[in-house]
Symmetry: C2
Subunit: 322 residues, 2 copies
Amino acid sequence: MSVVEQILKGDVRATARLLRDIDDQMPTTHEILRELYPHTGKAHVVGFTGSPGVGKSSLVDQLALRCRKDGLTIGILAVDPTSPFSGGAILGDRIRMQRHFLDDGVFIRSLATRGHFGGLTRSTNDMINVLDAMGKDLVLVETVGVGQDEVEIANSAHTTVLVTIPGMGDDVQAIKAGIMEIGCIFVVNKADREGSRKTVRELMNLVELGVRRRDTDGWQPPIIETEAIKGRGIDELYEAIRKHRDYLAANDRGQMDDVLEKRARSQLIEALKDEALRTLLRRLESRGISLDSLISQIKSRQRDPYTLVQEVLANELRDFAC
Amino acid sequence: MSVVEQILKGDVRATARLLRDIDDQMPTTHEILRELYPHTGKAHVVGFTGSPGVGKSSLVDQLALRCRKDGLTIGILAVDPTSPFSGGAILGDRIRMQRHFLDDGVFIRSLATRGHFGGLTRSTNDMINVLDAMGKDLVLVETVGVGQDEVEIANSAHTTVLVTIPGMGDDVQAIKAGIMEIGCIFVVNKADREGSRKTVRELMNLVELGVRRRDTDGWQPPIIETEAIKGRGIDELYEAIRKHRDYLAANDRGQMDDVLEKRARSQLIEALKDEALRTLLRRLESRGISLDSLISQIKSRQRDPYTLVQEVLANELRDFAC
């Protein structure tokens, strides 16, 4: 059986091997990804983002358990070096996650290396496609922080869950300033802590502001209080995700279309950026121009990076007339 | 006087205009940046990174005041939508920052937009070069989070300061997991809070571990407790930055060389990636191939992104033989 057939049949070892090769950014993966692509598009992709320490992993962990009760199969991708899924966090967390290891319905993988020249969003897109083709009903993607990468990874999800905790005023500011638009569902985790109601109220105000500003497209992001560790609020979160999926599927105003376009755009742009850089660097090398010599010229200010980049592109790109 | 001459003389309005154009990713900036580049290399660049809410802006604010006492001129770049420098935070913060507005020796600018196709690190590199050419002694760069972008922006700094607060166990995990190597100085801000000593001890253990693992290159990252709001610990931070600068300048083991190479590499790679993408998209458009039509083919799964990207590169790149 070919690797592609194995993965389409849900083979765990073949899938694990491919994901590792994607993480290592091996070009050999492209052919397999190409053949898998027509088989993608069935999974619902949920992204979880928020600052370190807000408990994203515990939420994902509990949500996976909840989904399993309904018989849904789950893929989990941790794009976060601090995630217990990646082995990054304290021992207790890691052991908790291991309960899924005996469950065939849950496939957990983390992006171990952040590529030498970036390409994180691209790798994540590729891995989502693999888990999708493998037949998982839901793919849960855990990212960290509020940076550009996280916004980009949100482009790969159907539903994005923004997680914060009580008293993180600056998180609310971050949501206000930049990432409000990407949130489909807001979670205030560790809701037993002081100030939870206040955080919920602040988020409600932001949601109302956002809804008004964007001339409501029919989805009012719910704000859910959870205590992931105790399992509180997980049913509500599960229902909210289902509702958002149904909302997208209803499709009367083209919302699903927007999401799919956003995902397709991310896949094309990220792959183009990544592959263009790799190809250019490979070509420089083949022409006997070492990257190090260029860097050394910039370092000594013999040359400037602006002119050098124009030269590389002029040399490598086809003449525009032909 | 040309724009370049104006900026080299420290003209605030010309500089502000150029930075705005860089933020808007206008290609017209390249010519100016090219001419400014030979005049760069004098400023010491200090990057501040850490989760939202740890008080990076207050630290930068207080540090700028301290530097002014010694007559140093300062450029501040806020690469953080939540920064009060960007107008993102609560009113009190913003007003505090405004005390610098009347001081010619401090130039504050924030990156307002995060480019449509990324390019954040590149814009930051370019802006640092402008403030450097403008004659600022120190350039302080405030970023948010622990993501890939922040690690990349750390590549643009001589000295990277990692900021955390007591009780952020997951921040310490993040430092452990991925960003330990980029920290030259660690700050535990809001050190009046419970658990500050514990956080300091955890960081000390990590530093010792890191130093041992890397077979010490002669710099032991100091861990400094601060209360930025009250100005506590700012002198120590200032001294630590000076010491790190002197350490780099002593250059007996090539440390400064490593930093300059890292910076040059970042400038070349980020500009190449960014410009390659832009050029390819422009060319597609000129050939009458709309990005939207490609995206739509991927969306409908008529085509896969992997093959499409190879086709675009094959069409646009010069034949390898010639």
